[in-house]
């Protein structure tokens, strides 16, 4: 599989293949087409960063622009899902969840349970996450810990083009509501992606790199950072196992616990805010179920407990970067109990 494509093209390809395969798959969101009602071109944008560009030409009214009414159109996607469609709705930035969260966590997430197993809500919410674009406090958040907190939601945070495609196809075919978090700084990442359709099951972590000294669990954009640090440290004789959970809910506990059983040391890296975040979630898991394996304190490397600043110098400090990851790894490696 030598073909290399961009992360954002992998997402488009997943949508394209699923729309071709299953007529119940539909796409909606603000400017996912672009140009509706306007005098110029249709398919003018294909999403704010061009991810869905071209689908309109192939699928016509199965991809729809919406008014800026997130509650209504996310809710419409949820409602359509309960009626047999498989909507993929785009919430442009995850930061905007605050105007439509109810439809996600009180409606979509709860139907199956609350209705005694008699409803099914196969909706996917695609949404951009993450800092690094100088987009400031309201366009740079991760927020997936909030979705992970909600029973009934599945939450995906892909870290590579390959995973993005396989996980999105899985998300579309899944019968539960899925929050699919695309890090905007990964859109331009290139990677090998098979042309044919494939799925990656949820709840199966990817061991990105094997190692024996320290387990490093990282998500999304942090996976690349962690791998780079691990490569560098390997030269100096520190062997890190890098694990990408890929889905935060369901979460692959076993792979993380087995790794810590081997290494005895854990660093969790997450770009989200620290309090009640994914780093804490994973650390707590290991402190409860893998305590006897631990030979050192668990280090968490996260963003600080602040909003995301606009200025680039500050934003770069905000993002948990390779230097902080390396320091944490060295710290747990050097720990003597």
């Amino acid at each position: 599989m030598a073909r290399k494509i961009l992360f954002q093209d992998a997402i488009r390809e997943a949508l394209d293949q699923e729309m071709a395969r299953d007529p119940s798959v539909i796409v909606m969101g603000e400017d996912v087409v672009g140009g509706t009602g306007a005098p110029g071109e249709m398919d003018a944008w294909g999403g704010v960063l061009g991810v869905t560009k071209g689908l309109y030409g192939k699928y016509g009214n199965r991809i729809m622009d919406t008014p800026i009414s997130e509650s209504a159109f996310v809710g419409a996607a949820v409602g359509a899902a309960t009626c047999g469609m498989r909507p993929v709705v785009e919430l442009m930035f995850i930061d905007f969840m605050g105007v439509c969260f109810d439809q996600i966590y009180n409606q979509a997430a709860k139907f199956r349970y609350m209705f005694g197993g008699k409803a099914q809500t196969p909706v996917v919410v695609r949404t951009m996450i993450g800092a690094g674009f100088r987009a400031a406090a309201q366009h740079s958040q991760c927020l997936y810990p909030m979705f992970t907190h909600v029973p009934g939601l599945k939450v995906v945070v892909p870290s590579s083009p390959y995973d993005a495609k396989g996980l999105l196809i899985q998300a579309i075919r899944d019968n539960d509501p899925v929050i699919f978090c695309e890090h905007k700084a990964l859109y331009a990442m290139e990677g090998e992606v098979p042309e044919e359709s494939y799925t990656i099951p949820f709840g199966e972590a990817n061991v990105v790199r094997e190692g024996k000294d320290v387990t490093v669990v990282a998500l999304g954009r942090m996976v690349g950072f962690a791998t780079k640090v691990a490569d560098d440290l390997a030269k100096g004789g520190i062997s890190c196992e890098v694990i990408d959970p890929r889905t935060t809910s369901p979460f692959d506990e076993d792979t993380v616990l087995e790794s810590v059983e081997n290494t005895g040391r854990l660093v969790v890296v997450d770009e989200a805010s620290p309090r009640c975040g994914m780093a804490a979630d994973i650390a707590a898991l290991v402190a409860q179920k893998g305590f006897s394996f631990l030979e050192a304190p668990i280090e968490m490397v996260t963003a600080p407990h602040t909003p995301v600043p606009f200025n680039g110098v500050l934003e770069d400090l905000y993002i948990p970067g390779p230097a902080k990851i390396e320091a944490a790894i060295r710290k747990v490696k050097g720990y003597k109990g």
């Binding site: 919406t66 008014p67 359509a80 109810d102 439809q103 009180n106 609350m114 005694g116 009934g152």
Partner: protein
């Protein structure tokens, strides 16, 4: 009325209205006895709305309801035994005891769920309507919501979305004058909710929600428009609830004798019965027979609900995708 309903239709409508009334009156009693857990919002007094609306729908059409959902469910054909058991929290309930009064749903009947969130339903029906539209089924989706919900952002957005996408939706605003203890006179800035239709480029009409025929006719027009592909409509039914916002509410915000007068002068069932036995020449005994049937049905539903088992402890962890 521009479309003649058959005698069978009329009797069916009567049966539905009577079933709702009996169901709710009985719940009022059972709640007072302490047998029913949680929050229960009764629909008694408003039967003509749910019935007049749903008589225009078939099993493939959809409705989304609100916290005051028993009437909508019954009118849409949800099984009364299942509903009663659900409200008692039993394993034989529509939702196996996990939902309760505020979360009765039955997708086989196109009932997308009562809802504990005010304004939760309107976005959902846009989706059901979109599914109908894309599949060309000719189906319709209806959102029932109250005067209070008419001020919720989700409701406004849904009206705009339905209009913009030309969806086969009917928005049914049941204006019973109150949202909990707050009057719609205060909370709805424009007075009549139907006025809001113009803000979303759709027809809007206010009807007397105590009058089955008025509701039916408004809904007939709106449903035809929707099925034709001409888009959504808004119907405001002005009506009244007989009980408190929820069971336990002492209703001190209402006028003295307000409910007594309503029951005496505006009751939708009495009015409908009168029309049936008058204009429509139906024998009073036909109605009385239905009344007896319904009474027996509700009696049986309560008895079965009381006798039914609670969910199994293991049910706590089912119907959600994974255990942690």
């Amino acid at each position: 009325m521009s479309v003649a309903l058959s005698v069978e239709d009329l009797l069916e409508a009567y049966r539905t209205m009577r079933t709702i009334r009996e169901f709710e009156d009985r719940l009022h009693v059972e709640f007072a006895k302490g047998g029913i857990p949680g929050f229960v919002h009764l629909y008694a007094g408003e039967e003509a709305s749910a019935t007049g609306v749903c008589m225009n729908l078939n099993d493939h059409d959809h409705i989304a309801s609100n916290h005051r959902g028993h009437g909508h469910s019954i009118a849409k054909g949800v099984d009364v035994h299942g509903m009663m058991a659900e409200i008692f929290g039993k394993r034989t309930g529509t939702c196996r005891g996990k939902g309760g009064s505020m979360h009765i749903a039955d997708f086989d009947r196109g009932m997308m769920g009562a809802n504990g969130i005010v304004g939760g339903g309107p976005p959902l029906v846009c989706g059901a309507a979109l599914a109908h539209k894309l599949r060309g089924t000719g189906g319709v989706a209806v959102a029932f919501f109250g005067d209070g919900a008419s001020n919720q952002g989700t409701t406004f957005e849904s009206m705009n979305l339905a209009s913009v996408w030309k969806l086969p939706v009917v928005f049914v605003a049941e204006n019973n004058g109150y949202a909990e203890a707050t009057a719609s006179k205060f909370s709805v800035a424009c007075g009549d909710i139907a006025t809001r239709a113009a803000a979303f480029g759709m027809p809007g009409v206010t009807v007397d929600g105590h009058d089955f025929f008025a509701v039916f006719e408004a809904m007939r027009i709106a449903t035809e428009r929707a099925r034709r592909g001409d888009g959504p409509s808004l119907i405001e039914c002005k009506l009244d609830r007989y009980y408190g916002h929820f069971e336990g509410d002492n209703q001190n915000y209402r006028g003295p004798d307000e409910v007594k007068n309503l029951r005496a002068n505006k009751d939708c069932l009495q009015r409908f019965a009168k029309a049936l036995t008058g204009d429509h020449g139906i024998a009073a005994e036909s109605l009385a027979a239905i009344d007896r049937d319904v009474l027996a049905l509700i009696e049986d539903a309560v008895a079965q609900a009381l006798a039914a088992p609670n969910p199994e402890p293991a049910d706590l962890l089912t119907d959600v995708y994974i255990k942690y």
